[in-house]
Symmetry: C3
Subunit: 317 residues, 3 copies
């Protein structure tokens, strides 16, 4: 999330009752998560394991629970509970704005759109031209939808991401990270029935131009999908993944978080992608591997009995 | 289901035109299925294969299609068609009560709840304090929802279970078991978008305190989920399963019916759980096994060609 | 799709500005896709790879981008862009008819139906007797629903199929095939919560009498499901598949397109069906195989270390 205007570190420190170490005269321009940060961003860290990564990232301002040295031009905001401090800031800039109307007065729509009955459109939503939203679709706050987009029935755009702060010594182990990202759906995207597109926790969830989703596809928070991608039914992509242009995922493929699938890669049905995949190739399996390798492996498994018989002398079965 | 008040066996016998064998002076306190019965419960059985299991279960009253001996303090209700008799009783105590309003007048809600537009709330629903129900959610009859609960858009709470009486000599093989259970969602539970939580067929479907579900998670009838469990997107759990506290299921995991997953077990993405799992361990695969064993197996498969070459003398490919 | 009345080839040629080769005096009775065509049907083809298949199919009239010889009694309609011509015809006979009402005035309903609040019913929908439609269901245009049908909350009937015309040299690679098929749900079918049943692109999507679907089942366009089939949660079936009577698919099974699963076949959970399956057998695995073979394979894999030790002399780990 970009702040509406740069926020002074002094105001921030006073707001969350933090001690500032480092440059306290500058301004934060936005909030972001560690995988997506850039200069001017504010992040938080509360586990010693991630202190160094955070301090040496592109983030300029770090909410942290330990006093440490900090490179020139950056600042630490030291508090006892960085997660609570972070939540306070997000809630301040993105307060819960419940809507009592099916379509918020703040929604902006282009010409030649058709919105069927039973559609909910939340606050601060922009929809382009010539877009069709089918019955019983839900579009939550802060979504941006392009021209010639089709969203079929029952789909949910801008649901909250599945992203929790975990402490197993609490009574309730998991506390939701409040989110301040958006969903951006570019022109010519088509979304099937019963899909769910989570909004970014701090960055944006993006579906690139011309990408098509079949029914019941799940796209996690902060995931960026390129142009002309194709996803068949019941594909699920976890948070903060990157799909480059022209990626095809066949039915029921699962994709793990914070990884990259390269341009024009094709992943066959029911595969499970747990790490980066190079573009321009075919993949199969759970865990996924090169499709030809996997096919060969399936053949090799069928040859074990022959091997057994040769080695053990016909005692296989 | 507990009956509103104990029901005399004589009334029951007359209602379903049954002959009573055994103690006809006592009262049934509820209906339950064979996996969950306790003393005072009424069950039905129509297949000889299950006669003994039923008669020797904790159930006190058995609707059955054969005259048999029955232990002291129990009673048989003998009818020609136990399934039809059972349905008649369930329909009597849980009649179909269609609702013509989006929110039934019988719904009870705590303070500081927010119900978005497009939500349906059926009869006899109780919702605690500080709970948010997002647009286009459906909450059917007889659900109990706690404090600080979040249910995201498009989710369905209290749908009918997938539980059929099967006879392949009928024109229509499968006849739905009418259900009389509930869904109980405890405090601090969060349910993603597009989830479906079936109500119990005769027992309750329960999500324990602090449990979090990602999008498109399916929870079958009569399944009991402990506290602080975590389920990623597109997990499906069949009927009458038990998940103890702190269980984590990663994306697209499938869990079969009437099994138990032990405390703090972790099941990796796309795994298929077909039987009980011991707590405190990691699991992977379809069918699932100990995660380290499975990882080792994946390596072993890759070594088959080397083995082949050694044994067969380079004829592998 | 059958045309409302036979359409003269001369009118058609003039409408899409085509040159007719062959018999220009006859009439087309309907549109269909190449897997489902019969005599009198119109199809289109734009790739040389499929010219012969199309011309030698049962179709009588072929929109094509090349002048060729054509068998007696058939006709070619030659245009530069067959896909655009095909779209123009479909849009003419099935114009986009947006509905501003939750239930269209054209819907026809039998006696003793109950439609819950929040249900959308589009144009030209017929519903039989004694059918229950639960809250927040969407039934799009041109669906035919039988007697004693149950459709649970959040399900979508008649969504557009996932079927695209692909040209990777365009800015937007994928262009949706406009659809003109229907969904036909026969008597005694029950559909769980959160299901999606796509309508046929040109043929009909059919669920046969007495078939039962659990929650979150996806049925692709033009798929024909027989009588008394059973599908557990999160099954997905791609387009134009055929399931004969009595087929059982357990949870999270995936089925590819344009294949046939034989009568009474049973496919175990999480399996992936990529080709035809013979009836009366059990199947398991991704890719699927005979269940007993697959079970044996799982055992063989566990024996590799023993084999390794024997051959390599205890160097396995």
């Amino acid at each position: 999330m970009q702040f509406p205007s740069p926020v002074s570190i002094q105001w921030m420190a006073s707001f969350i009752e933090a001690k500032v170490i480092g440059d306290d005269s500058s301004h934060a321009t936005g909030i972001n998560e560690i995988h997506k940060v850039s200069k001017g961003d504010l992040v938080f860290v509360d586990h010693p394991k991630y202190y160094d990564k955070c301090i040496n990232s592109d983030a300029s301002f770090i909410i942290i629970n330990k006093e440490m040295d900090i490179p020139e031009g950056k600042a630490l905001l030291v508090v006892e509970n960085p997660f609570e401090a972070y939540c306070k800031i997000v809630h301040h800039f993105r307060p819960f704005e419940p809507s009592t109307k099916l379509i918020s007065d703040t929604a902006v729509m282009g010409s030649d759109c058709f919105i069927y009955p039973g559609v909910f459109i939340g606050h601060h939503v922009t929809i382009g031209k010539n877009t069709i939203i089918y019955p019983n679709v839900t579009i939550m706050d802060h979504c941006i939808i392009g021209d010639n987009v089709i969203i079929q029935s029952g789909s949910v755009i801008g649901s909250n991401g599945f992203y929790y702060n975990t402490k197993k010594n609490r009574d309730v182990w998991y506390k939701k990270m409040p989110d301040c990202g958006r969903v951006i759906i570019e022109d010519d995207v088509e979304i099937g029935a019963g899909c769910t597109i989570d909004r970014g926790v701090s960055h944006d969830t993006i579906l690139g131009r011309g990408t098509k989703l079949d029914n019941m596809v799940h796209i996690g928070h902060d995931t960026v999908v390129g142009k002309n991608c194709l996803m068949a039914a019941q594909v699920a992509i976890a948070g903060a993944a990157t799909l480059e242009d022209g990626v095809t995922l066949w039915g029921q493929v699962g994709v793990s978080k914070t990884l990259t699938i390269g341009e024009n890669a094709v992943v066959f049905a029911q595969s499970g992608v747990g790490g980066d995949l190079e573009g321009g190739k075919n993949y199969f399996g759970s865990p996924v591997q090169d499709a030809k390798l996997k096919q060969r492996e399936l053949v090799w498994v069928k040859r074990i009995p022959e091997l057994w018989d040769k080695v053990m002398g016909k005692k296989g079965e």
